[in-house]
Amino acid sequence: MELTALQQDALIELLSIGFGRAAASLSQLTGHRVVLEVPQVSVHPIATLDSALRSLVSDEVASVHQIFSGPVAGDALLILDYKAAGMLKELLTDEAPLPLPLDASAREVLTEVGNILLNACLGTFGNLLQVQVSFSVPQLNLDSLSEILRSLMVNREGLRYGLVVHAGFRLRDAEVTGYLVIVLSVASLDRLIRSVEAWEQGQS
């Protein structure tokens, strides 16, 4: 399944708005300017999602996972490498980071930051597409990328494709890079694309 050029453009426009809202929230949280890259979007069969993401992040990652439901439903993950996760903790608490698996304060920070950023991005979609999106309690995982993706697939036979969105953002001249990954069933991906097309037509 591939996106047409028009679908890709419309999704990127929507994602830019969502990421912009997330970046504004991150800037407000940290007190620093956030520089955002243009989001990249691609669709991958679930079986190749691991290799698609491996080109972006190292194997050990911190991820905040929220299930979202509504007319468009799936899983959303904010993925950061350990270095970025430690830097965020330092920016938000003025405390030096410890090794992440041992740092309860950092895990708290990441869970809340992930909650705010995922809500900012997906909530913006809900507003623009005029659909109500509901969210689960955010869960933080410190694990290999493969294990995180594998755990999403348990009992989820309907998940065939993953929409991978990534946008780098930089804080305070440092390179803290995060990635948003959205995993949808074929039906939800189809509905999302149709909603985005309708939204985009409404804009012109």
Partner: protein
């Protein structure tokens, strides 16, 4: 007399940062980390305003809001949530909340909303 705020959020980070803002403005703050504790604390502490997160483990914020309002129709509950959707704000208002703030909350905006909720029971403009 110092007004008392009950802060309900499963995120310790969110509770800490919100507590700092409220105590800095002279409010007395008590905390609950989930819905069941919030309901208990409400009747023990008798706060003037409740600041309530929406998405929490166990009872969701809307359930807590409904329960508090059922037990005390005068309960003044301001929702503080990462959910930025307009539809969620409308849902919260329809459920009888006294106000709605998005995370991360601007400190002055939070204080204005809480002050209005303390003074007149709601903060919707």
């Amino acid at each position: 007399m110092t007004s008392k705020i009950l802060l309900v959020d499963d995120s310790a980070l969110a509770r800490r940062s919100t507590r700092r803002i409220l105590e800095g403005a002279g409010y007395q703050v008590v905390e609950a980390e989930d819905g069941m504790a919030a309901i208990e604390q409400y009747f023990v502490e008798k706060p003037d305003v409740v600041l309530l997160d929406l998405v929490m483990k166990g009872m969701y914020g809307l359930e807590v809001l409904a329960k508090l309002r059922e037990m005390d129709p005068q309960a003044s509950v301001v929702v503080l949530s990462a959910d930025i959707q307009t539809s969620s704000r409308e849902m919260v208002q329809a459920a009888g909340a006294a106000g709605f703030l998005n995370k991360p909350a601007d400190a002055q905006q939070m204080l204005d909303v809480v002050a209005r909720a303390v003074e007149r029971g709601d903060s919707w403009s």
